[in-house]
């Protein structure tokens, strides 16, 4: 059965070529179209294809509300007209073309920005219950949702440069770690479920000293027992996070005499080991598995460290100073890193001779300040840049899926939240939450 679907585009160009296509999907039945092959004009773009699918769905289900879709041919997203795509990829237009459609990945809604007092330097959205941000006003903040601040982490005497939520399953209290330019790391504990109508100020329960220069990045182990930090003193230090039973840790109770307030006891911790090898500032660390730490540095290298041995296993040189790194994608093995140029590079360390990146995304205009993989999808990642844009990437196409342009100045940090939102903070002191990103 052949159906000719009249779309707004092809009314203009009656005599354009037609291709036989069959739509297929992995989506659930209400979004499934009958698997007949239909003839559509070959000059349709993504928008045209999307309206074709929506028309088909409406034909089956009259109450269907149209929704944007994205289309995959041979595992590549269609980003030009069908004709051009077939020509570029050398696919025959004679056969019945199988087009898979997925829901378009783009933020649907811009939530209320969370206003800070100063530049938002770090953000972590790994806990679906709250967002943790670090700020240049030396404070860390916990946000319940867009614009709702529940806790303020007070205690650093330098700008907070990095924050990390330490995984703590089943515990009532959530432990978080912050790194600051005052050369210390602090660990904090708070009850995320706690209902407060006024931001509650909390103090750190542990201070980790030992870096000789400002700490730039922090990452927690998957089990939550340890954190690692990268610093301007070119080292990566490993720290324990457990509070009370640390036998060797010297407990210093600081009592401020002149202060009326009764201070909580503060623990101080020392680095249990230091990974030395980078020659310049370690700008970013990630700790995706128990035994390996990935670090990016201004000495233009990405290094993989064995935690047990304390040595670097491999290094990738890219020629540019790197600012951010993240591990994810296929098999949680791809390394995405951005730095002092507008190119987001992705390496596959499993490939032999991995000096050349497997993907390069270069739609940004300035330094890339952050990049994060989606923790479920193999294909999606976000990047934030000093040009004020957060871009959503799919490995299957060279163009960004969407550009979030909600910041007015440099974007310093970005992360995923709850799997369907992109959170980002920047020089305009705002934490922007773009929700409704549907990734299966």
């Amino acid at each position: 059965m052949d159906m000719n679907i009249e779309t707004p585009e092809d009314q203009n160009e009656e005599n354009s070529r037609r291709v036989q296509v069959r739509f297929k999907t992995k989506l659930k039945p209400p979004q499934k179209v009958p698997s007949n092959s239909i003839a559509i004009p070959s000059n349709l773009t993504r928008f045209g294809l999307s309206s074709v699918v929506n028309n088909l769905l409406q034909a089956v289900n009259p109450e269907w509300k149209s929704e944007p879709f994205d289309f995959l041919i041979n595992g590549e997203l269609v980003r030009m007209s069908l004709e051009q795509f077939l020509l570029a990829k050398g696919i025959s237009a004679e056969k019945v073309l199988e087009i898979e459609y997925i829901k378009a990945v783009a933020p649907q809604k811009e939530e209320e920005p969370s206003l800070h007092d100063d530049w938002v330097s770090a953000v972590d959205g790994s806990n679906p219950g709250f967002i943790l941000t670090g700020c240049y006003d030396n404070l860390g903040r916990v946000w319940k949702a867009g614009g709702v601040c529940t806790h303020i982490l007070e205690g650093h005497c330098g700008a907070v440069s990095s924050v990390n939520i330490i995984k703590s399953d089943g515990l009532k209290y959530v432990t978080v770690a912050t790194a600051s330019k005052d050369q210390t790391l602090r660990l904090w504990k708070f009850d995320a479920e706690e209902l407060v109508n006024h931001p509650k100020k909390i103090r750190s329960f542990k201070i980790l000293r030992g870096h000789k220069a400002s700490v730039h990045s922090i990452a927690a182990e998957t089990s939550g027992n340890m954190v690692c930090s990268g610093s301007w003193d070119c080292t990566i230090s490993l720290w324990r996070t457990n509070d009370s039973d640390a036998a060797g840790n010297q407990v210093s109770i600081k009592k401020r005499k002149g202060n009326n307030q009764v201070e909580e006891p503060q623990l101080e911790g020392e680095a249990i080991s230091t990974l030395v090898g980078h020659t310049q500032c370690v700008s970013s660390v990630v700790w995706p598995q128990q035994e390996t730490i990935y670090s990016a540095s201004w000495d233009h290298s990405v290094r993989t460290w064995d935690v047990e041995m304390g040595k670097d296993l491999s290094d990738i040189f890219c020629g540019k100073a790197l600012n951010c790194i993240d591990i994810g994608g296929e098999g949680s093995a791809l390394i995405a890193a951005g730095g002092s140029d507008p190119i987001l590079r992705i390496w596959d360390p499993r490939k032999p001779g991995t000096s050349a990146p497997v993907f390069q995304f270069s739609s940004h205009n300035s330094w890339i300040s952050a990049c994060k993989w989606h923790n479920k999808s193999w294909f999606h990642l976000i990047s934030a840049s000093y040009d004020g844009k957060v871009m959503l990437w799919d490995l299957r196409t060279a163009w960004p899926l969407s550009v979030i342009d909600s910041h007015k100045d440099k974007v310093l940090c970005a992360d995923w939240w709850r799997g369907d939102s992109v959170i980002s903070g920047g020089v305009d002191s705002k934490l922007c939450v773009s929700s409704g990103v549907s990734i299966q």
Partner: protein, 685 residues
């Protein structure tokens, strides 16, 4: 007539005998011998078989007689002689005839045809001479006059009288009467009879069969022709196959066909190639004269002829420029006058040849492109700053000076708005603003990372300020260092110049200068290794131009950088001068600059070396900064390699000033530029 000849055939012989008689008188003894011979011949004549021989002899005698006759005919007395001899008897006739014939055989074998005719007019119709007095010309060119014609009657009577008249024939050609001999008449008679003219020719001779048929009944062999006569040879074909195989295998090789040299050559071509052919090493062909063209023709086409106006214009020209030859037209070649300049021209040609250069002038043929120094590609010299990604905004006035911290995390900038700002490099955040109050001239960060202290020169003072960076311990040390309890005890030398004071507002020390210090030397800038010998300064080329070198009472403040950290033997120094000249001095080499780069159209405001990368930069008031690759080799024989890499633009001009300062990031190949437009830019690779 014919009948008459026939009838008187007998008489012919008698006439001959009479002629013979005359010769008999001349040589008597010989006649005797002849007689005997003739007798024997007579006997032979009787033999019929030797008929032909006799005939031959007879013919020979006839020839002789005719010759005699022709000799005799020249005389006028010819006819009378004959008449006298008439009376001789007829007996002797046969005898003499035979002896005569013998003699003829002996003496001459010539035929009648070889007797040259008396007349030489050739084969022309005789009618031409019909009306002339002469009949022709003899061999010496004299005219042969015609004989007087006898009238018919007289001739008739003469013929009647003359018994031999019937034998006479009138030869028209020679105009004479020829008396036929007896032999001749006989010959005529034979011809008339249809016989062969000579008697000795046997028309019907016996057939001589030269082939022997005795025992040759059949050919040599009666066997049938063998088959091999008709089929191609097997051995030949084998041989051919052998050759074919050998050729295919390449065992037999044919000679290459010789390339034929062209037999023709360029006739009017240049003689330049002739020098190669000549054996002389320094053979110089003589200069060729100009070949004549159409205009030198005696009758050239009209377009070659100059008009009167052109001729007049020639008169106005200098003699040197005037054309040497003016084409003219002549009706014919004969009317062409002698060339008046012939002598002059040949003299000049001789002079040309004489004065022609004897030494070949070697012309150096060099492609100007090859004279350019071979510079490596810019791609190979990466990394170097290329594009501006970060801008540091906040100053209100022109940024005059910048200085980076040793690790490259922060940098400080001083501006004419009276503030010093400390910036974070990676984020572009201004960490601190230090209000000085006076226009800043220079800022310098302490190169020691343990003491984050900043030196600032503003107005007449040098300030040493705490940046407030670093941890508590470092801050404590800095505070100790920067604490000045009381004004220091007056030193004899220093007191008059400098006093140490605690800064009243900021955390730091103020060094107050009492004399007017133009540009006080910042004490912390130990990166500035001043390698300055006086010989350099006195170099007259730079003496007045160096903005960089200024002498004050305090010392020398050079706005210059020296390459202190690179692995080098000896010092290299770059100096930017006021008119935009950038000089690279190799201090070990000479006091003259090794390279002068004239790149900026306006004043160079600062120059900088990178501490680890082989880069240096210059910034200028034309709002640009230039980045160069400057590689110094440890090998002393190798000159430093200087390659211009990039022009960095982006700053805007303000009050005629452009980029005021440039500094490299200490660890990255990045360049900070401070602009008069109050913006600091970071150019990254």
């Amino acid at each position: 007539m014919r009948e008459r000849k026939k009838s008187s055939a007998v008489e012919v012989s008698s006439v001959k005998k009479k002629k013979e008689k005359k010769t008999k008188d001349n040589n008597e003894p010989r006649e005797q011998k002849e007689k005997e011979e003739s007798q024997s011949i007579m006997k032979q004549q009787k033999n019929t078989t030797s008929r032909s021989k006799k005939e031959k002899q007879r013919k020979a005698t006839e020839d002789y007689q005719s010759l005699r006759e022709s000799e005799l005919s020249g005389d006028e007395v010819h006819g009378t002689d004959h008449d006298v001899d008439n009376a001789d008897d007829h007996h002797e006739e046969d005898q003499t005839d035979g002896s005569e014939g013998h003699r003829g055989v002996e003496e001459s074998d010539s035929s009648e045809d070889e007797v040259a005719p008396r007349n030489t007019i050739g084969d022309v119709p005789l009618e031409w001479y019909k009306d002339e007095k002469h009949i022709g010309y003899d061999i010496s060119g004299k005219k042969i006059t015609k004989k007087e014609r006898q009238d018919k009657l007289a001739s008739f009577l003469a013929n009647v009288d003359d018994s031999k008249s019937w034998r006479k024939i009138y030869d028209e050609y020679n105009d004479e009467e020829v008396e036929l001999t007896k032999e001749e008449i006989r010959l005529v008679q034979r011809l008339l009879k249809g016989k062969a003219p000579h008697t000795d020719f046997d028309q019907y001779a016996d057939y001589v069969d030269w082939f022997k048929y005795d025992d040759a009944l059949h050919p040599l062999s009666n066997a049938p022709e063998p088959k091999r006569r008709f089929i191609p040879s097997k051995w030949e074909s084998k041989k051919v196959v052998q050759y074919v195989r050998a050729i295919r295998k390449g065992l037999i090789k044919f000679d290459e066909p010789k390339e034929e040299e062209p037999k023709f050559y360029l006739l009017w071509g240049d003689d330049s190639s002739a020098a190669e052919k000549a054996n002389h090493l320094a053979y110089i062909p003589a200069p060729k004269p100009k070949l004549p063209g159409h205009e030198e023709s005696y009758n050239p086409s009209l377009e070659y002829i100059p008009t009167q106006e052109e001729l007049n214009s020639y008169q106005l020209m200098y003699e040197e420029d005037r054309p040497k030859f003016i084409p003219r037209r002549f009706t014919s070649l004969r009317s062409v006058p002698a060339y008046e300049n012939a002598v002059k021209d040949s003299f000049e040609r001789c002079m040309d040849l004489y004065l022609c250069p004897r030494v070949r002038k070697k012309r150096v043929n060099i492609d100007p492109e090859t004279l350019k120094p071979k510079l490596p590609s810019r791609k190979d010299l990466k990394p170097y700053p290329v594009a501006c990604y970060l801008e540091y905004k906040g100053h209100k006035g022109a940024v005059v000076s910048i200085s980076t911290e040793a690790s490259g995390q922060w940098f400080a900038s001083g501006s004419t708005d009276g503030t010093v700002r400390i910036w974070e490099v990676e984020s572009g955040r201004c960490l601190r603003v230090l209000e000085i109050g006076e226009a800043i001239q220079y800022v310098a960060w302490n190169p020691l990372p343990e003491l984050p202290v900043l030196a600032v020169s503003a107005g007449q003072d040098v300030l040493i300020l705490n940046t407030g960076l670093g941890n508590e311990e470092e801050q404590r040390r800095v505070k100790d260092l920067l604490h000045v309890e009381t004004p220091t005890a007056p030193d004899d030398n220093m007191a008059s110049i400098v006093s140490w004071l605690q800064h009243d507002k900021l955390d730091g020390i103020r060094l107050r200068h009492f004399k007017v210090a133009f540009s006080p030397l910042s004490i912390f800038s130990c990166i500035f290794v001043l390698v300055l010998d006086l010989g350099l300064v006195e170099d007259h080329l730079l003496k007045n131009l160096l903005l960089a070198l200024m002498f004050t009472l305090d010392g020398v403040f050079g706005r210059m950088a020296s390459q202190g950290r690179l692995p080098l033997h000896g010092d290299n120094l770059i100096v930017g001068s006021r008119e935009g000249k950038l000089c690279w001095f190799d201090m070990d080499l000479s006091s003259k600059p090794y390279r002068v780069l004239k790149c900026h159209p306006k004043d160079i405001t600062n120059v900088a070396f990178h501490r680890s990368y082989p880069l240096f930069a210059s910034c200028s008031d034309d709002c640009t900064a230039y980045v160069f690759h400057g590689m110094v080799y440890s090998d002393l024989n190798q000159n430093p390699l200087i390659v211009p890499l990039e022009i960095l633009r982006g700053h805007t001009s303000s009050n005629g000033r452009g980029v005021m300062d440039c500094k490299f990031h200490p660890r990255q190949p990045w360049l900070f530029t401070a602009g008069a437009d109050s913006v600091i830019r970071l150019y990254c690779h």
